[in-house]
């Protein structure tokens, strides 16, 4: 016999066995269908879960970066550690960085602690001053409006001729102080020169929850209003940077570090403020980046558990199938069937089952995942202000994100696990002794 005819022979044999396996499956259609249901249902759940997790991590990255943090932030150490008012970066550095990195979007920010009062209440607040135009290019902070319309310029003047600037406030702060757009807010702080900074403001907008602290005590104003309140001219506290291409994160971070070191050589900074720190969003939000790091393994583990449980159905079906066909197998062996062909036949049965389940499960799971991309799960009844993780507040709507590769991997995982489960019954079939089996 030539090698090709052997192959032909085994190829046609395989076809015959495949045919037999398929026919064998439908000897008990209800049982097989139930197994297909269990496996495909399991697979659909795995795909659905993966799409939810992917959606959540994507949402987390967006919230941890684009909403208010940016991808990279630059601070002086004393500001990062203690919010030291005087730990500033000089204004000329902003232009120097913008000139050297035209591909980046940068936004300078200033901060201060203060006391906010209305006629009824007063409370401690965190003042954040932004350059509205640059800020809009970097984050969506000023776009997250719940009420009113963000306007940070001079709104009007009092009878004594004092200009009132507009401010936007956090939602929780607005609720605690019963603030609504149009209300007056008095801010009292200790200005940089030690004097008592005080000024009148008008609330123009209430912002949606973004960060825990900001929501409770945040007041956003313009750089100009800040300067008039705080008498702090030297520089800014924070530089938020947005990248168009996230793959360059590390490279840009390094380049920024070098550039800042060069700038520091040209204009040495005061020693109290400490060195300049360039940190990316993962370093800024370790809780979120750790969450992202474990989410892939979590998806895998949850998937394995679901698939393993579904495969128990497969194990049961195949055990039954082998058990009730003991006599049949005995006869087959008696008329000269090779044991390993018997094994192949049983495994082919399992393969048919799992392939069928994979197709149905993948379709069902993808459909569910795609639906989640559109509608998502809305928790806003339970958590109207979203939930927070590591100080960042997330939308109460969970959206899915279907990755085609996840569908493929989940289906492969299901097929492999199901086949592994069916190895046990098939192994039993070849250990049969023909005479005993026929008895």
């Amino acid at each position: 016999m030539s090698p090709s005819s052997v192959q032909d022979l085994s190829g046609s044999r395989l076809r015959i066995f495949l045919f037999m396996a398929w026919r064998n499956l439908w000897r008990y259609p209800v049982r097989s269908l139930l197994t297909v249901c269990a496996l495909s249902g399991g697979l659909a759940m795995v795909i659905f879960n993966a799409s939810l997790m992917t959606g959540m991590t994507r949402q987390m990255v967006v919230y941890a970066t684009e909403v208010s943090t940016g991808h990279i932030q630059v601070h002086r150490q004393a500001f990062a550690d203690d919010q030291d008012l005087y730990a500033t970066l000089p204004w000329p550095w902003l232009e120097a960085i913008e000139a050297d990195f035209p591909q980046l979007h940068v936004a300078p920010r200033l901060y201060a602690a203060g006391l906010a009062s209305t006629t009824e209440t007063s409370t401690g607040v965190m003042i954040r001053a932004v350059d509205a135009e640059r800020e809009r290019a970097v984050t969506r902070m000023l776009g997250q409006v719940r009420q009113g319309e963000v306007a940070l310029g001079v709104i009007d003047e009092t009878e004594q001729g004092i200009a009132r600037y507009g401010v936007a406030v956090g939602a929780q702060l607005a609720r605690n102080m019963r603030l609504a757009p149009g209300d007056e807010l008095v801010l009292v702080t200790q200005a940089a020169d030690g004097s008592i900074g005080n000024a009148l403001f008008v609330v123009t907008a209430v912002l949606n929850p973004m960060e825990l602290n900001f929501d409770r005590m945040g007041v956003v104003m313009s750089l100009e209003a800040y300067r008039q309140l705080m008498f702090l001219e030297e520089g800014f506290h924070e530089l938020a940077i947005l990248l168009d291409d996230l793959d360059q994160l590390e490279a840009i971070q390094m380049a920024l570090q070098d550039k800042l070191a060069l700038l520091e050589q040209q204009t040495p900074l005061d020693e109290w403020g400490g060195p300049v720190q360039v940190r990316n969003w993962k370093e800024l939000n370790p809780a979120v980046s750790e969450m992202l790091a474990v989410s892939n393994s979590m998806t895998l583990i949850i998937g394995l558990i679901i698939v393993a449980l579904a495969s128990l159905g497969m194990l049961n079906t195949m055990l039954m199938a082998v058990h009730e066909r003991t006599r049949e197998f005995g006869i087959l062996m008696a008329i000269g069937m090779k044991k390993h062909w018997l094994l192949v036949m049983v495994l082919l049965e399992a393969l048919c089952l799992s392939l069928l389940s994979a197709v149905i499960g993948a379709l069902l799971g993808s459909w569910l995942g795609l639906r989640m991309e559109d509608t998502g799960i809305d928790f806003s009844d339970m958590m109207p202000d979203g939930y927070d993780w590591g100080g960042i507040i997330f939308e109460p709507v969970m959206k899915g994100w279907l990755e085609p590769s996840h569908v493929l991997y989940a289906s492969l995982m299901m097929i492999v696990v199901a086949l592994l489960a069916s190895l046990i019954p098939s192994w039993r079939s070849i250990r049969l002794k023909p005479v005993e089996a026929m008895r």
Binding site: L115, S122, G124, V186, G194, S195, N198
Partner: protein
């Protein structure tokens, strides 16, 4: 037998009771030193931080331990900024924007007018007698001065910031030398030094108070009294938001 022990216990307890009473009387004396029934004072507060040094001249009025009013006269930038204290409440009047703001209880630990004193100092300083259990812990000569050392521990239910306050007082004129403020862990947080003693009617008053925080070397707040008069006619009406809003503050 048991009667004997009770007698012995009583005998041992007596001196400490007497001492405790003495300490309370001393603290009451210290509490009232700058106050009298009513008082009016002019003083300069110099705040030195590593970033700036600022001197503020102000007028202060008080009536009993519950009412006080402080108005800044210098520098021009802060002229007219007033702080009113009525019992446990503090209000600030800001003439530039013509508004009165209340200092919330959450800000009591915050700095008062940029100094190293807290808002809480303004409210709580007067209640040594009410909030602390004081005991004489040393009596005798130290650094060539005959002193009494009084240690004050907050009463269990008192809402105070300090874990312990130790003060040394001159045995003769009963004026304070120094006070050390400790937190609940027993770490020294700040030291208050009293000097430039001056005889005022029936009492000796330190005219200068220097506060140095322990964690910020080189920083300090010094309050120097220029003049102080007691028992002038001052109504409780004077210590009101109305007075604050009137702008020009005179009794």
């Amino acid at each position: 037998m048991s009667a004997f022990f009770r007698y012995l216990a009583l005998l041992m307890l007596l001196p400490s009771l007497a001492l405790a009473r003495d300490a309370d009387a001393l603290m009451r004396h210290i509490d009232g030193l700058w106050r009298g029934k009513t008082s009016q004072a002019t003083m300069t507060m110099t705040v030195t931080t590593r970033r700036y040094e600022r001197a503020m001249t102000m007028q202060a009025w008080s009536r009993g331990k519950h009412y006080s009013l402080i108005v800044i006269e210098q520098p021009v930038k802060d002229k007219g900024v007033a702080t009113l204290k009525v019992e446990q409440n503090i209000w600030n009047y800001l003439p530039k924007i013509n508004r009165v703001t209340k200092v919330p209880s959450s800000m009591m630990a915050g700095s008062w007018m940029g100094s190293h004193f807290t808002n809480d100092d303004l409210v709580k300083e007067s209640t040594f007698e009410d909030d602390y259990d004081s005991q004489i812990t040393f009596e005798g000569e130290r650094d060539g001065q005959a002193i009494i050392e009084i240690t004050s521990i907050p009463k269990p239910d008192a809402a105070v910031v300090w874990g312990k306050v130790v003060m040394t007082i001159d045995q003769q004129v009963l004026a304070p030398y120094r006070a050390w403020y400790y937190d609940e862990e027993g770490t020294l947080i700040r030291t208050l030094v009293f000097d430039q003693w001056q005889q005022q009617e029936d009492r000796t008053i330190p005219m200068r108070l220097s506060l140095t925080p322990q964690d910020k070397p080189g920083e300090s707040t010094v309050i120097t009294y220029h003049d102080i008069v007691f028992d002038i006619p001052l109504d409780t009406d004077f210590f009101s938001l109305k007075t604050l809003k009137r702008g020009r503050i005179t009794p």
